[in-house]
């Protein structure tokens, strides 16, 4: 029994490392690529592997919504805009970039130093393990989430529907061609 649980948690760890590597690789590819359509496709890879990480965490509904809304709807919107505007490879403008390098490189070093300091101090967090084999099932299933969303968070839910309505109208008004 204990042996099986141990093997399952080992599998969790291996899957986490695979999808985390895919995630980080996609994010770095987004930075490196010059053409926006390649960046968009690598962002889809990041979102897909994030959905799989959500599944590892037991958040089934969030994983499904991540694939449908993010990797589906939002990225289709991005790809359509790139194709509609016929966006080509990025052109370099030297003037702004020099300031960015002068300020960005020290900023990056300081930021990495802070992250390294926090990580090296974070020994207590290492003992907290999540996504365990027991109790993870049906934790983020649609039914308990719907209970929470439509009972405790009903007012924010309705407000978001108004927000979406305003966003639709705003998008239509902004993208309309001037007569």
């Amino acid at each position: 029994m204990a042996n099986g649980e141990k093997r399952l948690s080992m599998l969790h760890l291996i899957l986490f490392f695979i999808f985390a590597a895919v995630c980080i690789g996609g994010a770095i590819n987004l930075l490196v690529q010059k053409h926006p359509i390649n960046s968009a496709l690598s962002l889809i890879v990041v979102m897909g592997s994030l959905a799989l990480l959500y599944l590892l965490l037991g958040a089934e509904f969030v994983a499904a919504v991540q694939v449908i809304v993010y990797a589906g709807a939002v990225m289709v919107l991005f790809v359509f805009t790139i194709m509609l505007l016929n966006a080509g490879a990025e052109e370099r403008t030297a003037k702004g970039s020099r300031v960015a390098i002068m300020l960005g490189v020290p900023g990056l070093i300081i930021g990495l130093g802070i992250v390294a300091a926090v990580v090296s101090r974070m020994t207590g967090l290492d003992r907290i393990a999540i996504g365990g084999p027991s109790g993870a099932e049906a934790f983020g299933a649609p039914r308990p989430l719907a209970h929470l969303l439509f009972r405790d968070f009903l007012l924010p839910f309705e407000v978001t529907s108004i927000l979406i309505l305003i966003a639709i109208m705003g998008a239509v008004v902004l993208a309309r061609r001037e007569e």
């Binding site: 760890l13 995630c23 980080i24 805009t81 907290i128």
Partner: protein, 100 residues
Amino acid sequence: MVPLSYYLILSAVLFACGVAGFLIKRNIITIFMSIELMLNAVNLTFVAFAAQLKQLDGQVFVFFVMVVAAAEAAVGLAIIISVFRTRETLNVDRVNLLKL
């Protein structure tokens, strides 16, 4: 079992990639995609803490973040289209005036 800190480190790395893309990219669409990457990194933190604390509130927040991100993407891309119509460029260095 995966330690919580691994998820937080992954989220921090993704967020840092988003910030770097926001700063170094000159194409307005790629900058917009970097913002989406940052939102996704924050979502991963929400879900990781929801799983750790065994409370679903974090996942509900992820839902709201997704709604806001979708609205933001729709309006932002509409603004990008309208900027491209008047200026014929997607380079943010060439879009430095509010008025044409």
